[in-house]
């Protein structure tokens, strides 16, 4: 355990994360927020989408960094990538696979898809944080990012629900999401298995956050700017 050696590095990373978090909070908080319970408060769709895109972009950045950190530290030479094929729990959700497909999907459906993905990750993120915390050599960089992603994901979900409420009012979709069942793998005693479980989770998180980000940017350009970004 080189917690002493990694603590200055980790604390620095934590500080950086906090600062970026604060900045993001600032940027997010700068947008007008309707107090809870207000009826006539109406944030413009443009502002909602701007905030959503900022969040999704931020989440994906965090996810990429987290994955890179984990891959560099734990997954070298283990060939996890070969095993992490088609192992994401959200693959059952029929998401578009290229630009044409994404552009053909109706924006309402796309919005719903984003919601589903976001919902699907609520649980895994929660467990990710708890499990990373429990790691013996829990790197602060991964832990802090995991915590941040969890928080931002919650916010993004709230924002998306608002957007859907504005774009597609009245339709209350059943809360469909993919269930994650990888928790036991995270708690496996076998280090290799456990690490692969983390690796897989982080890999899927990186991909799904990118998907969300891309979909939201598409939607924003399509809905707000009429495909003329």
């Amino acid at each position: 355990m080189d917690s002493k050696g990694s603590s200055p590095k980790g604390s620095l990373l934590l500080l950086l994360l906090l600062v970026s978090n604060l900045l993001l909070c600032k940027s997010v908080a700068a947008l007008p927020i309707c107090p809870s319970g207000a009826v006539n408060c109406q944030v413009s769709l443009r502002d909602l989408f701007d905030r959503a895109v900022i969040l999704s972009h931020y989440i994906h950045n965090l996810s990429s960094e987290m994955f890179s950190e984990f891959d560099k530290r734990y997954a070298q030479g283990r060939g996890f990538i070969t095993k992490a094929i088609n192992s994401c729990h959200t693959s059952s959700l029929s998401t578009p696979e290229d630009k044409e497909q994404a552009q053909q999907i109706h924006h309402e459906d796309l919005l719903n898809l984003v919601l589903r993905v976001l919902r699907s990750w609520k649980d895994p993120l929660y467990h990710l944080v708890s499990e990373v915390r429990g790691m013996q050599e829990a790197p602060d960089a991964i832990l802090s990012r995991a915590i941040e992603i969890k928080e931002q994901n919650k916010r993004l979900l709230e924002g998306m629900e608002k957007i859907v409420g504005q774009v597609h009012p009245g339709v209350k979709e059943n809360e469909v999401y993919s269930v994650w069942s990888g928790l036991p793998s995270l708690q496996m005693a076998d280090e290799d298995t456990r690490l692969f479980a983390f690796y897989n989770l982080l890999h899927c998180l990186r991909r799904d956050s990118h998907k969300i980000d891309n979909y939201l940017k598409l939607l924003k350009c399509r809905i707000i700017y009429d495909s003329n970004c």
Binding site: I85, N86, S91, E97, K99, Q103, S227, C229
Partner: protein
């Protein structure tokens, strides 16, 4: 046995291998995928590196399969990406899916495969550089000029739908600079650069980066020339400032030119040129070196104020008849006072010295039998030369004398006081000489002065006699003298001063003043010397006053020729060095100048210590 067989087999295999190696053929080496890139997240290309060639032509194939699929596909396009590449077009590209790609190298000897390469398109996006980089220098009226940079995203990237979000970065530098100046431009496709060095040529480049991808290459350089700093306003302002300064400078120069001389003289007063009193440059012209030398040997230089006194008494009466007196040196003896002097009467008025010098020169030439030697430089310049700032303090005496002198003036004739009272501005040289002459006369035993005065007195006497009725001279003399002017005997030519003027070289003129008339009826003449007491009862001392109590004769022009009373000669009131020589001088002169001088030869020429001067009385004779 078995061992032998085994070893033999091994040996054979080794031989076989060696043979193959010796031939140089081998199965291809293991290729390796080096890079896969997608320019717009819709297509991608992979490049591989072949392994060690086996010496035989090798065939490379790329096979892949996607995540979640089991079908293995081969590269759809080996050409587009260049050699050893595989291009996946849109149809064959799936996003958010992992591609497992393998390269197979095959030759006759064998084949080899590369390690599988796992690639997701979303993580290999590297766009082309932006295009259409345009530069423009904008110069708003109230601000400094700035550089406006504009570009377009790369052609393949779909930004409008939001599929890719690009961020840009520009960099610029002056052409000769070493370091680039980088600016992040965000998602905008234009940028303003405000800090520019005017007059420089700038190079600009731009690149882009997708929201989650790699930076592109820098675009090709664009250059622009920043114009110089000078605005029209500045230019006009500087031109007007320059013109105003030029005008001011011209005015200053013009003012300096006009008044420069006076200013210069004010700042740097002119140093008086060296002049020797009593030195007549005419001598130089005439080549009279002897006189020159004698002149240079003047004593008592610079002149004292005594000379001034003498000068003051130097009378010149210019009359129509004056000409008789005046051109003593001239051959012509004008008739009685009628011939106009060559001097313009107007010139004479108040400027006796003006006339005198010229006259002096003339007379000097003619009458000089013996080159007169300058006696002394104790001469003060009567008229003020502009160059010679010798101012005799004549004023008191002038005034004093002037009153007397004025009486001498013949009425009609213009009387010119002798050089003294009025400074004369013309012919300074001549006046100088006259002054010198006068001084010399004064300095010496004043014989000259006395003679002059004699002359004057003679004239006075003559005039008085001619004009006046018989009166007691003694009492009348002064009055006569004073009243003489009223009588204005034109005839009387008070040529004394004039005659004096020809005294060029060495004719010191003596200023004499009629001091009084003694009982004997002798006019006491006083040379104008401060040192000399002005009172001389019986002057007759050669230096100072001489008493001319004896009338030798009367000339035609009613001129009295006075002679010194020999009796009075013994009386010496003033001590002059040369006085002793006077009598002899007189005698000599008389003899010598007989031709010129009619009476009183002794009076005419007095030789004092080597200084020769003419008695003014002599001049009167010349007019006869």
């Amino acid at each position: 046995m078995k061992e032998n067989v085994a070893s033999t087999v091994v040996l054979i295999l080794l031989l076989f291998l060696n043979i193959n190696l010796l031939n140089g053929y081998s199965p291809p080496g293991k290729p390796e995928i080096i890079k896969c890139r997608s320019p717009e997240k819709e297509t991608f290309t992979c490049w591989w590196k072949p392994g060690i060639e086996g010496g035989l032509p090798t065939n490379y194939t790329l096979t892949y399969h996607k995540e979640g699929e089991t079908i293995t596909h081969e590269c759809p396009d080996y050409k587009t990406g260049g050699p050893n590449s595989c291009y996946f077009n849109k149809k064959h590209t799936s996003i958010w899916k992992i591609y497992i790609i393998t390269i197979n190298a095959t030759n006759k000897m064998g084949s080899s495969s590369s390690d599988p390469h796992y690639v997701d398109v979303i993580y290999i996006v590297e766009p082309d550089p932006p295009v259409n980089l345009t530069l423009e220098v904008k110069q708003p009226e109230d601000r400094k000029p700035y550089l406006w940079i504009k570009w377009l995203p790369p052609t393949l990237v779909d930004v409008s739908s939001g599929w890719l979000t690009l961020q840009y970065e520009i960099r610029l530098k002056p052409e000769k600079a070493a370091e680039w100046e980088t600016h992040f431009a965000g998602q905008q496709t234009q940028f303003n650069v405000l800090s520019l060095y005017p007059g420089q040529k700038y190079l600009v480049q731009v690149r882009c980066k997708p929201d989650h991808g790699f930076w592109s290459e820098w675009s090709p350089e664009s250059s622009i020339q920043i114009p110089s700093d000078f605005t029209m306003k500045d230019t006009i302002m500087w031109i007007s400032v320059a013109i105003l300064s030029a005008i001011v400078c011209l005015i200053i120069v013009w003012a300096l030119a006009l008044k420069g001389y006076s200013m210069v003289t004010c700042i740097f007063p002119p140093v008086p040129g060296p002049k020797i009193k009593g030195f007549d440059t005419h001598l130089l012209e005439k080549g009279k070196s002897e006189e020159l030398l004698s002149a240079l040997g003047c004593q008592d230089f610079p002149p004292t104020s005594d000379c001034e006194d003498l000068l003051v008494e130097f009378l010149e009466v210019d009359d129509s008849e004056d000409q008789r007196l005046m051109p003593a040196h001239s051959k012509e003896h004008p008739s009685q006072g009628l011939k106009p002097t060559h001097l313009d009467p107007d010139n004479d008025s108040g400027r006796g010295s003006c006339d005198s010098p010229s006259l002096l020169s003339e007379k000097y030439e003619e009458s000089r039998a013996n080159p007169p030697t300058f006696h002394t430089p104790k001469v003060t310049e009567k008229p003020e030369n502009p160059e010679v700032n010798i101012t005799c303090t004549w004023d008191p005496q002038d005034i004093h004398l002037e009153s007397k002198i004025s009486y001498f003036h013949a009425g009609g004739s213009k009387s010119s006081t002798w050089p003294l009272p009025q400074p004369c501005h013309h012919n300074p040289l001549s006046s100088y000489h006259s002054t010198a002459d006068v001084c010399k006369l004064a300095l010496g035993p004043v014989s000259a002065a006395t003679t002059l005065l004699d002359k004057t007195e003679k004239d006075v006497v003559e005039a008085s006699k001619t004009i006046e009725t018989e009166e007691e001279e003694k009492t009348d003399k002064p009055r006569e003298v004073e009243s003489f002017p009223s009588k204005t005997d034109q005839e009387t030519a008070w040529l004394l001063p004039q005659q004096k003027t020809p005294f060029l070289a060495a004719k010191p003129m003596d200023y004499v003043e009629i001091h009084k008339v003694n009982k004997d009826g002798a006019l006491a003449l006083l040379p104008k010397q401060k040192e000399n007491s002005n009172k001389r009862e019986k002057p007759d001392t050669p230096e100072t006053s001489k008493e001319y109590a004896k009338v030798s004769r009367v000339m035609d022009n009613n001129i009295l020729v006075l002679v010194q009373d020999p009796r009075a000669q013994n009386r010496v009131l003033l001590e002059e060095p040369v006085k002793e020589a006077l009598p002899s001088l007189r005698q000599n002169q008389a003899e010598e100048n007989l031709a010129c001088f009619t009476a009183t030869p002794d009076n005419c020429r007095l030789q004092m210590g080597g200084v020769d001067y003419l008695d003014p009385t002599c001049f009167t004779h010349s007019f006869n």
